[in-house]
Symmetry: C3
Subunit: 449 residues, 3 copies
């Protein structure tokens, strides 16, 4: 049996306090103007690096990566639209969403009619600023509220974007904890969105805190955390790690984990991968309104990890699903939209997932002919305890199915009992010499090879 | 990729016009007194032969075929019952259903009491004439409406059936279109019913028009159309083609395709044959109230094709199921009971089925590591088009699952997108050199062997 | 084909008369104070032995059996609590449930306060006596109604239990009918409960009557009936028959078969064993409100038979499930709680199960190419009979699926027709030389090896 159970360690802390810390971390990162390259991204990785042993990887513009090429690096200092009175009617200093992300530099005057094709609004939510990008087609533009737009009178405007789009680097952060096995668990989150909270400061915060929980533990699996720009970052990492990516045995993309909606888990392309079963089990016992979604090739970076050449067992854990909530990719996805309680619960779910991955072993019942006499060993619960039937049930199931073929997760699934209950029963039965570890547990075998 | 898509060719015609032509064809055939042998059957095949290169096969009475023997040939010129005033109170010239099909000749007088056992009515539908046969037990009789029956007064009647039941031939029609592969698609319909429209002038008409659509096309599979008397015709064909029947890779029995009910598809005995999946897919995307039925050994000629010695992958496509609509096997199954619109829609469904069979190939993604950069190739739809998400989705699914293992139908099923959408995506990706045909496509391999 | 069909033999008797006989048998056994050892158990086996060739097996106290040891033998003659007036306020002679089963002897006086920890009641059912045991921890006690308890005044009581707990024997009964095959069907029921009717005089009675039905029949399988004390008896039998238990191909634990509830069947650990399919089929066609339960390692002696070292295909047939009805393990589980009609119906279900096990063979259609001409053989039902379509359907299904791969049960399941209908069709087709027995029927093959 492994170390202390991670989930219990998380639970022992006050959920309110934990949620507040997660939210505070998101708050610290919120104002930074991130993109898929540039100083905002570097600054974000540097703040994460204060908490974790993070390796920063940089790849030069123009480097071919799989079917793609590292783009130019984008940086921005200021941007505004001034009216004829010299007033900043749209101002990057107020909100970094106001600029079309990856806008080329510009400083000129033009009439409103010429400016209009470069302005983006959300007519159906007239007080929200949309989030728009143009990474791979050079363009410039401003995002503003529909009400701002309506306030613009015909006339001449000064348009200024103090940005640069030049040869540079694409940056990402990587944090690796070696375990007993060389097989890896991948946790990936995107770090390229500017002032958006749920998408994806929530995923980034939960991933950071989860990694902190793993620091210094004796681990069965090796763990790899990636903090990367969406799409291009995952492609860059895969291009650099084509061979070693084969060691990834389980993986999760973390995103949209701070809103108040129920959990959603999108399965890996394999759809019956162990991680798919593990997450489904945890959500079944955590959130009655959780939904398991089939794989689809549209979404976050699971698209890349699950491309047919790699076909890694990587799913995507979310609360609300991108594109299904109106705040998605707007200024309304702000710090109020994410709740400390939701962030803490998301971290707990991740801890439970890790606990199953770390402890899901196969055991052999050492007294498999008939039931062993539990009473003699003090394992037939006396009527005093809390839910003695549940405990006895977990012991009987664990004995009955521990034939070297069924893992503890198999037993938890078939008995419909929480994994932790089965794990605790196995620990007790192991102590009573009624179980032994089966020799062929895959992860451990692999590390010996 | 194959020729032009058949379904599109059908759709481009006006459905109203197409339905009218189908209905007109059924109308032309309606008055003929068909049976499982004889001149009515020959005349029907001859009319079909004006549209198709139809080979007429004849087998002599007494020839053993599997467990059966070709029966005597039946022909009829006239039949009536005259009352004491010499009035034809039941008259074959009014409706050929009035005679028990395969009645032996008779000309005599008898009192009503003696005649009664030879009279068949439908008390629950007093204005309808039932359809009855006695192929394998010599008998004579009349079918009449319950109201006609009630009008018969006691007394002497003249009973006359001018028929012959003599050594002759059993006839059927066969039409074959060779394709690239020697593997065959079988389309079978029964042509032995007299003036009944849905059962089965509808199936016969749809089959004829479908065959006309295939004329002159470059085909992947070879296609075989059978226009045969029910049961005995299928048995005769199977007896003559025992070895070559093994080339049938997909098959459909077409019947009851003209009424206004929703589609029903009865699966082949194999139940997971490719044709079963193809029809289910087409109906899922065509008719929300379509029903998929399990195989059963009772029904139309799929009984014979799916007998255990042959076990061919042949299902049965219907709208309303035989025996479940009151008009079944009565004079109410007439030209009003079948609708031009229904006939046209049935033909469209058949065309879609053929399109999948012709185009269901496996492809290999040539850029399988990560997603290829679609934008660079103009394959990331610009926001102008209609349903760009749907098109992009189809492309991403096709890329993601084109690993040489999944066919386009597999991809359509898993993505829940219409096959045609996936086929169109594959065609586009093929043009962009992002896909290539996998080498092991079964149909084509077989033709090389 | 086997002997006369057992179910028909049962059905031909009057269900009322059969139920009365079953109930009378339970009535005869009801007053005896049974336990897991001792004279009450011996007397019960002796009464069963009047009806069956029952071998009584005894194993001495102290004998190790698997992880357990045979306990001391318990016997009891009398027990009471007398108040200060010398009145028996709790009296074993009135109901043997009044004594904690396996109570050590005691004769003393004590104040009520000292007596209380040894008294057990059911406050929620104040007129019922609970049933309690203490087999493996020496103790003494009395079970009484809550109302009796409330009537006890403070003061001195005479407490007397005239029991013995000494080295002796554990007894069980075994009845074996050899069949053509050495493969066995196991029927097991527990016989250790004192005056409780549903749990388990009902199971014991049905098992006895079922065995009587098998007496003198030509059997395909060998049948083994076990009348054993719960848990320790099953463990003792398994310990003595570790090797020969491998011959058990199908098994059922019978319990709670007399109440008025719908049937429940708990599957074997294998969950797809043939017996699981057989019982599910019979219940589907018998009791529309029957429920199939998944295996769980908690329950009756299927716990032992399905322990991972044995993993026998043994399920548990019940009407109401233990622990789910309030009368369970109380004096309300009496002769009124079990109904003659329910007992008779339970026996009928068991007979149907045996009929399937005995007759479930694979056949080969001897005219598999096309349908054979049934009319010529008088097998196409004339319209006179009752449900001719059902009979024809059974014949067509049996012909269609008799390819040597599908057993009659496979055919019954796929056609959704009762097994008996399929069996009758097979018998008829066998008579018409349209079927022959496939050579590879497992049970018969095994007996040759």
């Amino acid at each position: 049996m492994g170390d202390t159970v991670l989930r219990r360690k998380v639970d022992q802390r006050d959920r309110g306090k934990l949620g507040a810390e997660l939210h505070q971390f998101a708050r610290e990162l919120f104002p930074i103007c991130r993109s898929i390259t540039g100083e905002g991204l570097r600054q974000t990785l540097s703040i994460i690096g204060r908490r974790l042993p993070l390796q920063i990887v940089e790849i030069a513009t123009g480097t071919p990566i799989l079917d793609w090429v590292i783009p130019k690096e984008w940086n921005i200092r200021d941007a505004f639209i001034k009216n004829s009175h010299g007033e900043r009617v749209v101002d990057f200093q107020n909100c970094n969403l106001h600029v079309l992300n990856y806008s080329t530099p510009i400083h000129t005057k033009m009439p409103l009619s010429e400016l209009r094709p470069h302005l983006f609004t959300l007519p159906q939510n007239p007080d929200w600023i949309p989030y728009r990008t143009s990474y791979y087609k050079e363009n410039w533009g401003f995002c503003l509220t529909q009400n701002q737009m309506l306030g613009l009178k015909e006339g001449e405007y000064e348009v200024c974007i103090v940005s640069s789009l030049e040869d540079g680097q694409l940056s990402y952060g990587e944090c690796f904890f070696p375990g007993t096995s060389t097989e890896e668990v991948l946790i990936s989150c995107h770090t390229c969105h500017p002032s958006l909270a749920n998408d994806n400061l929530s995923g980034l915060s939960v991933a950071t805190f989860l990694a902190q929980q793993l620091l210094g533990r004796n681990l069965r699996y090796s763990y790899r955390f990636l903090f990367i720009p969406g799409t291009i970052g995952a492609i860059a990492w895969l291009a650099k790690n084509r061979e070693s990516s084969k060691r990834i045995r389980h993986g999760l993309v973390l995103t949209c984990l701070g809103d108040r909606g129920p959990f959603h888990y999108k399965k890996s392309r394999q759809e019956n991968a162990e991680v798919d079963r593990v997450v489904e089990h945890v959500l079944n016992h955590t959130d009655p309104s959780a939904t398991i979604l089939p794989f689809s090739p549209y979404g976050y970076d699971e698209r890349q990890y699950c491309s047919p050449g790699f076909n890694l067992p990587v799913g995507c854990l979310m609360r609300s699903v991108w594109g299904t909530f109106p705040e998605y990719h707007t200024s309304a996805d702000n710090l109020d939209f994410i709740a400390p309680h939701s962030l803490a619960e998301s971290l707990e779910v991740c801890a439970s997932i890790v606990d199953i991955l770390e402890n899901d072993q196969r055991y052999k019942n050492l007294a498999p002919f008939g039931e062993p006499q539990l009473g003699r060993r003090g394992l037939y619960p006396s009527t005093g305890g809390t839910s003695p039937e549940l405990e006895l049930n977990a012991r009987l199931w664990t004995l009955n199915l521990s034939d070297g073929q069924h893992s503890l997760l198999d037993i938890a699934e078939r008995s419909n009992l929480p994994f932790e209950q089965i794990r605790a029963a196995a620990e007790l039965l192991l102590g009573s010499r009624l179980l032994e570890l089966a020799v062929d547990n895959r992860a451990d075998r692999t590390s010996i090879e």
